[in-house]
């Protein structure tokens, strides 16, 4: 990356003299024009990070750069960062036009400049015919577009959105995702989304940074991150349903190494390079299949069948372990049915017991 548009350098935020660590030293580089999602559950520190970039909170230590220059000492209004709040914060009694113009009016730009900028943004958002409607009469997604438009007119260096789709109904959400992706490609801004919803992150971002307990565990291209989770937590967070994770031991043996989790034992491929020790095994629900009990590596009973429309999620109880398996709806079993579970050995994913990082099961060079 040449000069990143936004860079977080060892950013830390503590409260109560270090008793509470909200952000625990994160580094991130966002390229110009890139869209990044900060993804994590509530309490992971993503909103605090957002607040520090905007300037609503001061970092305890570390730095934030925009276009290579540190902004931590610049007051929030002057950082040239746009923020779209979760609840839009649109002025209800003003018209769309007045709302859009607000940022520029405050910055005392001349009338022509304001009019042009407002028209441009309204056109971009598809709200050109709604300019004179009062904001309180708008629908949810229209209000959100106005909220976004309000930041766009000021042409910020970086645009930040806090859980942009959480207040929308399901149908509006789908439409808005498409809208946001179109906007992203048209305006070419550098955008950061903060969200707890992986579908939102997957749909909108070029890269995803998964956060947990104040740290960024993995930053990876969206198209790759589900295939290649680097950390046990990431593997357990992404995916619907997420990867099945079993903590256990690998024991080398005469006939080949085995992985055991309690009473469960799995034979591993012959060229397994992992030494004896504790590991976490990851099994993707989409990579598992149901098979006849006899001869299947795992066998158990179906305890739950969740219908999803096109497919089903089957929970199989195997000796106190529950595995989720995704199957086409047509192949659904019956609750209580005794089944076997089979998988492709290539689909096994291992994470180090201590490091929690992904390890290669086989010699390097063989694709997972």
């Amino acid at each position: 990356m040449s000069i990143p548009k936004l860079e977080l350098v060892s950013l830390v935020k503590e409260y109560n003299d270090g008793a509470v660590v909200a952000v625990d030293g994160i580094d991130l580089r966002v390229a110009p024009g890139e869209t990044i999602a900060l993804l994590g559950p509530s309490g992971c520190g993503k909103s605090t990070t957002l607040n520090m970039i905007v300037g609503l909170e001061e970092p305890t230590s570390g730095d934030i750069h925009i276009d290579g220059l540190s902004i931590v000492n610049i007051p929030p209004g002057r950082r040239n960062v746009g923020l779209v709040f979760q609840d839009y914060a649109v002025f209800p009694s003003m018209t769309v036009r007045q709302n859009l113009a607000f940022g520029l009016v405050v910055r005392k730009k001349d009338k022509d400049h304001i009019a042009r900028a407002v028209d441009e943004v309204a056109e971009l958002l598809g709200m050109a015919d709604r300019l004179d409607v009062r904001a309180r009469d708008l629908g949810g997604s229209e209000m959100q577009r106005v909220a976004i438009g309000r930041t766009l007119v000021t042409k910020p260096a970086v645009l930040l959105l806090d859980e942009p789709l959480s207040n929308l109904e399901a149908a509006a959400r789908l439409a808005m995702r498409r809208e946001l992706r179109r906007l992203q490609s048209e305006i070419g801004l550098t955008i950061i989304y903060v969200t707890h919803d992986q579908i939102e992150a997957l749909s909108l971002a070029d890269r995803i940074a998964v956060m947990h307990a104040g740290k960024i565990l993995q930053v990876e291209k969206t198209s790759v991150i589900c295939e290649r989770p680097d950390h046990v937590y990431v593997a357990g967070f992404l995916g619907s349903p997420p990867m099945n994770l079993l903590a256990g031991e690998i024991t080398p043996g005469q006939g080949g190494a085995t992985f055991s989790h309690g009473p469960l034992t799995l034979a591993l491929p012959g060229d397994c390079v992992l030494p004896r020790g504790s590991y976490t095994l990851g099994l993707r629900p989409e990579s598992l299949r149901l098979a006849p009990e006899a001869g299947a590596p795992l066998a158990g009973k179906v305890s739950l069948v969740e219908f999803r429309g096109g497919d089903v999620v089957v929970t199989v109880d195997i000796a106190s372990v529950k595995l989720d398996v995704v199957l086409p709806a047509a192949e659904r079993p019956v609750t209580g049915q005794a089944v076997g579970v089979d998988f492709d050995p290539d689909s096994l994913v291992f994470f180090g017991g201590d490091s929690s990082r992904r390890l290669d099961l086989r010699p390097m060079g063989r694709p997972l």
Partner: protein
């Protein structure tokens, strides 16, 4: 306590007959009728404003219907106070007592019934163990996380054993992950103890995942009552098909060829699906064809059922949604992300229908699904 119906048979735990409720001239519920069998999980599915909360409040006795009857275990409870109806309710805003601890909140129904202290303590501890909230019992709701509060509300409802549990969007304010976890928890509790649940939600994923039966509510009217599979495979009308399922079902204007051999769908021609043949013959003015995105698969542009230009690729993890456009018509298809790598926006792509028997036809005016 209501346990058996006056006629001795096991009546459904809840039956609504023609329930109607108006608020200031607006009709919130219009002749709603359905029943909830004992030991089952029924879900009321509908958008905001469809009447879900109103229905639950009428059942609980918090509001009075303008017309219709509410029968709990066979008895007409018109005029009965909420406390006499033997129902438990979880509100969408939880409504925990803010000045009472977690313990006192859960114990509240038992305290009101003046159960002996030791018995109450026993029951509350057992419940806290099951819901894994033992550590919050001594705290006030304001100091708890969203998930903990949700479980305290659950505990307060479950500590009794009422005939019916009413849940109003109980998981809506939670993180995506926590929502999925608690959903499974609810399902498990229901099936293990044989409770009767009636749950309201706008989220069709939730409805499909845990319901035994789904009651589809739209603008105060019951549109369809069916188990999740049937609601998805045999929606009663176009709006229902669109409300249930993601990505959105493709709805395309279509017409039966005069010679009856093929159907013209937007800019394409498809063979007539077997099960629709007789139906379409009776609909000369054209119809709307419904194709679920997972019912299509990528193929070579030449020889494909539908071909066009790729206008959008939406990655959703291991799968992606492709949008293919020809002329004015747009079609969404769900593909493996790996397959999505083989196409690019702007390039030609072809789609084939995987299972013609899953194609739907809808009447363009009324939206009703056309069936034989």
């Amino acid at each position: 306590m209501i346990d058996t119906a006056p006629d001795g048979q096991t009546a459904p735990v809840l039956a609504l007959e023609n329930l109607t409720k108006r608020f200031r001239g607006k009709t919130a519920l219009d002749g709603v009728s359905f029943s909830v069998p004992r030991a089952s999980l029924t879900v009321i599915l509908g958008h905001a404003g469809a009447g879900k909360t109103t229905t639950l409040r009428l059942i609980a006795g918090l509001d009075r219907p303008d017309a219709g009857r509410v029968l709990l275990s066979g008895r007409d409870v018109a005029g009965w106070q909420p406390k006499d109806r033997d129902v438990a309710m979880i509100f969408d805003n939880l409504a925990l007592y803010p000045d009472k601890t977690g313990f006192e909140n859960i114990a509240s129904p038992l305290l009101i019934r003046k159960m002996p202290r030791e018995e109450i303590a026993e029951k509350v501890q057992a419940m806290a163990k099951v819901l894994k909230i033992g550590h919050t019992l001594g705290r006030l709701p304001a100091t708890m996380s969203g998930g903990e509060r949700q479980r305290i509300a659950l505990g307060r409802a479950l500590i009794r054993t009422p005939s019916l549990f009413l849940l109003d969007e109980p998981l809506s304010s939670l993180d995506a992950k926590l929502r999925i976890e608690l959903r499974a928890e609810l399902r498990r509790l229901q099936s293990e103890h044989g409770y009767s649940f009636l749950m309201a939600t706008p989220d069709f994923n939730e409805a499909l995942a845990i319901a035994d039966t789904v009651v589809m509510l739209r603008q105060g009217k019951v549109v369809q009552i069916a188990p999740p599979q049937r609601l998805y495979d045999e929606p009663v009308d176009r709006e229902t098909a669109q409300a249930v399922g993601a990505p959105l079902i493709n709805i395309l204007p279509a017409r039966l060829d005069p010679d009856g051999q093929a159907i013209r769908v937007a800019m394409w021609r498809l063979p007539v699906p077997g099960h629709l043949g007789p139906v379409l013959a009776a609909a000369p003015d054209g119809f709307e064809l419904g194709i679920r995105p997972e019912n299509l698969v990528l193929a070579d542009a030449a020889g494909a059922d539908l071909a066009g230009q790729v206008t959008d690729i939406e990655p959703l993890g291991l799968k992606s949604v492709l949008t293919v456009k020809k002329g004015e018509a747009e079609v969404r298809v769900l593909v493996e992300s790996a397959a999505a790598m083989t196409v690019a926006v702007g390039r030609e792509a072809g789609l084939c229908v995987t299972d013609p028997s899953m194609l739907h036809a809808f009447d363009p005016a009324s939206g009703r699904r056309l069936t034989a």
